[in-house]
């Protein structure tokens, strides 16, 4: 390892510090307040590239976190740091660099295309702004190269309207677009939840190759623990805006400690008729509209709840030296 990379290795690539986001409750909007992020902290190392999963159900705040990392969502408190720089307080130059280094893939591979333009528009937009290649020819070569990385032939997809392409082609174009900029981080917001089984492995495979060959880190936002288990290195389990359990994926999913993680894992239907669903029945979902403000948000559904759970949010406790942390009063000494 050279000294230069040592320096970057010390500062994390991405760091989220005590991020808080609350929706609603304003004067005009009224309605109840939704805690989308409750003091969330996580960090991604620069090298080697890793895939970090943020997993949770709908309403867990995982998409808000993605939005905050991409600069779409303003935090109410806390910071998002990219290579040590606060995203909210960047200079023009830093912001340019950040835009180039942090890219995204979204859930819906259709909506990301402006229906008015050809698919080329997406590439041209980036080309022009970031000056990735000089001249038409070089630009074209760059695009073709990026498309090849994701297994697409440029003749099949360029110069077409998005509706003329299949879902798999569209999603791969998105990845190619992100790759072309040679980013350091790609935020993948549910990239496989709207594609068929056969395409799912194709896209996950591309993500793995980009991590290994191009040294691109991923923040993989998902509701699907199984795909996270298969491709991720680290995982953070979210529940209603709180990180309930995090650490290396084998530790968290193989040896789940938080009752919520355990419930999630037990609820996954196994593609094996001989292995039943287990006996742990989830509590009913309508008991959960009680909004716990200070305590553990999982309290209303938790099978192991205790008195102190309502009182205050449990701090994250490290279980071992691998980084496996859990936020549950069961483990607070």
């Amino acid at each position: 390892m050279t000294t230069a990379s040592e320096k970057t290795a010390n500062t994390p690539l991405l760091e989220v510090r005590d991020a808080v986001k609350v929706y609603g409750g304003g004067f005009l909007s009224g309605g109840r307040r939704v805690h989308a992020l409750r003091e969330v902290s996580l960090s991604l190392d620069a090298t080697p590239a890793r895939i970090t999963a943020v997993a949770g159900e709908s309403g867990s705040g995982k998409s808000t976190l993605a939005g905050a990392v991409l600069g779409f969502v303003q935090l109410d408190a806390g910071h998002v740091l990219f290579e040590g720089q606060d995203v909210a307080a960047m200079s023009r130059n830093q912001r340019f660099n950040y835009r180039r280094s942090v890219q995204a893939i979204f859930q819906d591979p259709y909506a990301v295309f402006n229906p008015f333009f050809h698919t080329d528009h997406l590439f041209n937009l980036v080309m022009r702004r970031f000056g990735i290649a000089k001249g038409r020819k070089a630009a074209r070569a760059r695009i073709v190269e990026a498309l090849e990385t994701v297994g697409l032939r440029s003749d099949d997809v360029l110069g077409k309207h998005p509706h003329q392409l299949s879902g798999g082609q569209r999603q791969r174009i998105m990845i190619a677009r992100a790759c072309m900029m040679a980013p350091k981080l790609i935020v993948a917001d549910e990239p496989v939840s709207m594609v068929d089984a056969s395409l799912r492995s194709t896209i996950l495979d591309i993500m793995l190759r980009l991590r290994d060959d191009n040294n691109i880190s991923f923040l993989y936002i998902t509701h699907d623990l199984s795909t996270a288990y298969q491709i991720c290195d680290d995982i953070h389990i979210f529940y209603q805006g709180a990180q309930v359990e995090s650490g290396p994926v084998d530790a968290v999913l193989g040896n789940a400690k938080h009752p919520y993680t355990q419930l999630l894992i037990a609820s996954i239907p196994e593609p094996d008729p001989t292995r039943g669903w287990g006996t742990q029945l989830p509590p009913d979902d309508e008991n959960n509209d009680r909004d716990i403000i200070n305590g553990c948000p999982f309290y209303p559904r938790c099978p192991k709840r205790m008195e102190q759970c309502v009182a205050h949010l449990p701090a994250r406790v490290s279980l071992d030296d691998t980084g496996h942390q859990v936020a549950c009063h069961l483990f607070v000494k």
Partner: protein
């Protein structure tokens, strides 16, 4: 939480007050922006007229008091707002010493009656036609014939009014062409009077109804078609419900919601259109009163009529807004 919540009520009330205030302020600003100081011109015209009018002094005084022309602008403004909210609209210049309130009160019932009936009719008939055209199981014959009834859509109501007068009042001479009731009949709750009112109201109402129902029909048709693809429509059919029930409770009931919103939005336009219809038919309502004001340069009358029109429309919109939560349970829903 059902029906109207406090927050919703406050929002709609704010809107009502705001609309009326905006209208009043416009009425206040317009004469002061007009070229050549029309207020001064008005006063001079007033003095010229005073030769003919006995209580001229009193009239000019009342006029100046109302507008408080020598006071600072903000004093004038607040005095004006105060007077308006107490429904003191001043004296008519052409019919002194009749007050504008009196004249408006005399004209209002006619407009209110004509407009309410015409609007409700065009809305319900239009909705019914649109619902039938947009409903797949409607017999093909009906779906082909019904759109014919919409042929007057997009034509301004007053133009249709002229045509109707020409055909029915001048040509066939079956219906009267002017006024609200026959000259010989005195206003009383008698058959002669009521039938006369209905006869006189038919053509103006027809002019409004025939020209506006097409818009409701088109909006309704679009929503019925959009609705037909909704999952709850498929489920209703799967449940084996009678077609009538699917049509009303699942189709019409949902498709009508956007039309009610559209109704609230277009009341102002409908009221504007009916002003001119009344003028064409010399119907003794607000529209005709307004025309008289224009002809006589009777500015207090014009402003008074327009102020009352603005209030009336704002109140109508407010009422529709208050009814809305009862037909759409989602509107005031807030969790927690």
């Amino acid at each position: 939480m059902r029906g109207i919540t406090k927050g919703y009520l406050i929002k709609r009330l704010t809107m009502l007050v705001l609309t009326v205030w905006l209208g009043l302020t416009l009425m206040f600003i317009i004469p002061r922006l007009a070229p050549g100081d029309p207020v001064a011109a008005m006063v001079s015209r007033l003095s010229a007229q005073a030769g003919r009018v006995e209580q001229s002094e009193q009239m000019i005084q009342a006029w100046q008091e109302r507008f408080g022309l020598d006071a600072p602008m903000y004093v004038q403004y607040f005095r004006y707002l105060g007077n308006s909210f107490r429904f003191r609209l001043g004296y008519s210049m052409a019919y002194f010493p009749t007050t504008v309130e009196e004249m408006v009160m005399r004209a209002m019932p006619w407009t209110l009656g004509l407009l309410t009936i015409a609007t409700l009719m065009s809305f319900t008939v239009g909705i019914a036609i649109g619902a039938l055209i947009g409903w797949r199981p409607t017999p093909r014959v009906v779906r082909t014939l019904l759109p014919v009834s919409l042929c007057f859509t997009s034509i301004p109501p007053f133009m249709l009014g002229i045509l109707l007068i020409y055909v029915f009042a001048f040509g066939f001479r079956v219906l009267p062409f002017a006024g609200a009731y026959a000259r010989g009949v005195s206003p009383a709750f008698s058959w002669a009077f009521v039938s006369s009112v209905i006869q006189h109201g038919t053509l103006p109402a027809a002019a409004v109804v025939l020209t506006s129902m097409g818009h409701w029909a088109l909006g309704m048709r679009a929503m019925m078609i959009t609705n037909a693809g909704e999952d709850y429509m498929v489920l209703a059919q799967a449940k084996g419900l009678r077609p009538g029930r699917v049509f009303w409770m699942y189709g019409v009931r949902n498709a009508i919601l956007p039309q009610v919103t559209a109704l609230a939005l277009s009341i102002g336009v409908i009221a504007g259109g009916s002003i001119i219809v009344e003028y064409i038919f010399t119907y003794p309502g607000m529209g005709y009163l307004l025309y008289q004001g224009i002809v006589n340069n009777d500015y207090p009358l014009i402003q008074g009529v327009v102020f009352v029109l603005i209030c009336g429309v704002a109140v109508a919109v407010f009422i529709i807004d208050l009814l809305y939560p009862f037909i759409d349970p989602r509107i005031t829903y807030e969790r927690g």
